[in-house]
Amino acid sequence: MASELILHPAFLVLLGVIVLPLVPPAARGKVFPLFPLAALGVCWNLSADHSFSVEFLEYRLSVLQVDRLSRIFGIVFSLIGFAGGLFALHLRDVRQQLAALLYAGSALGLVFSGDWLTLFLFWELTAVSSTVLIWSRRGTGSRVGLRYLLVHLFGGSLLLAGILGQVQTTGGIALQLLEAGRLSSWLILGGIAVNAAIPPLHAWLSDAYPRATVTGAVFLSAFTTKSAVYLLARVAPGWEILIALGVIMALYGVIFAVLANNIREILAYHIISQVGYMVAGVGIGTPLALNGAVAHAFSHILYKALLFMGAGMVLHATGRSRLTELGGLAGKMPLTLWLYMVGAFSISGFPLFNGFISKSMVVSAALDARYQATYLLLVLASVGTFLSIGLKLPYFTWFGRSPRESGVSRPPINMHLAMGLLALLCIGFGVFPSLLYAELPYGAGYRPYTLPHLVESIQLLAATFFGFWWFRSRLAGQPTLTLDTDWFYRRPAGWVRRCLVGGVSQLFERADAGILAGIGWLAPRFRNPTLWLGRRAEPEQGPAVSSDDPDATRPKLEFAVTLVLLCVLLFTAAAFFR
């Protein structure tokens, strides 16, 4: 059992959480990437039918269930864990390092889970560990992290409720396809929708990711949404509602990215947009569409991490991330610019970059399955992607005029190395698509480099550039905030706090004051019982010498005691002689 466990990719990475604190602080950064690298090696060598389970109570937990779908996600999760570790090689923050390892390990555990209970455990671990990556940023991180955690706990609760219903209905805990008619299926779908950032449950992403640490954002961009896509492909392929939701996501992210001023917020909105392609692909449900969704998740993880690294480098070097505060960095950070542009060309679907070979699979699958509107809207969304990520962001960050001159600090070389590795992979898979296609789980062939496809892409991209150049002044950043669906819980938060917290604390304050007043009234009367007979209490801070004369009240007290004794005597006599 121990040998099986040690060869589980997730446990190899989670082992790092235990080992890393024992390593000298100066060496931790260098040791960190070794754990995901070991997991990558194991994932690569896993056979497609490998499984491993343990007994827990009356259940058999399938902690390692390998097939082609889980294997390809395992490979890319390990790969990005390694690249992220390389990017964070200089980091001296053990909390972030441990959170990142726990996050990567949990995501790996999730994709290799063969049952709902194991999956739920890792699902919640990803939520908690990713929250730490947001909390690690000083300043606004704590409040944003709390919102992020609460939304994910809500999503986790939906998932758990659905899982309990599913287990009760089916009598087993094995992962299996959801059935449309069941409430439990919809609850599970709701829980997955939170992590997949499907509107209106998406606002946590654009709220939290731009406020994470520089290295934290790289990890965040890879795991949560893509593990949700994995789960959708696993349990809900062909659910038609996902097509509509995917298209909405693709366009929603595009619109909000045009309005965003923070470069990492632009990238965050384009996670929602790109995950929209994957969700739509899962919804279409044909082998080509599912392969497209998986391939696009693979490509997206690589180029989005590269883009977040580029934006993180800008933040690291300048301390700024708002377009209104950036500009003119091309001469100061040329290498970062070109590495970023590789990611931008990839996400925009330029030929010879990995986005071209994966996004087109989903789009083509939509047309093959006769979803004309879906096809055209996804093409429109790809126009918006190039517009924001390939044109607006680099133009106003690197080429626009800087609003204020300031120095640029030199980033550590490992950050450039990590970007270089990912850029190489983006180009490598773009030039040799068969390297990725050979690993896809569903049997559907696809040829991306056909003349019509190349002609269409070139026309689309060139024409988008013309449109951008004509309207570029309108795209300049504005120092504004864009309302999103988080308004529904952020805006009423003050009101809820006033009602529930403020109201209750006010009630307690008044009760407190009432009790103190009561005690203030009773205390002198118990100290001096004669006050019960109508004498006024002396003030607390009265004269040092008391004016009380015990003889003055003695007759009244004697009369009262005599009266009581007389009554007792009379009642006793009456009872005795009856």
Binding site: L259, L380, G384, V455, Q459, T464, L483
Partner: protein, 74 residues
């Protein structure tokens, strides 16, 4: 943008339109009417780009964009 950038872009655009006209044929019986529109993807790119910019900015100006300190009192 330098002059040669514009010339290169124009050459690429014209080449793609010529190739579309000469070498790309949609023979499939069930292909849709709109796939035969000349320069379809050029139009989609240009008009789509302008539509996204104008539409998003309109939404932002009228409804969604607020002062950066909008949530400060929460």
């Amino acid at each position: 943008m330098k002059r040669w950038h514009w010339i290169s872009l124009a050459v690429v655009m014209i080449a793609s339109l010529v190739l579309e006209r000469v070498a790309v044929h949609h023979h499939s019986e069930d292909s849709y009417w709109w796939v035969h529109i000349p320069g379809l993807y050029g139009w989609l790119g240009f008009l789509g780009c302008i539509g996204i910019i104008v539409g998003s900015k309109l939404l932002g100006r009228k409804w969604l964009q607020k002062d950066e300190h909008y949530y400060d009192g929460e």
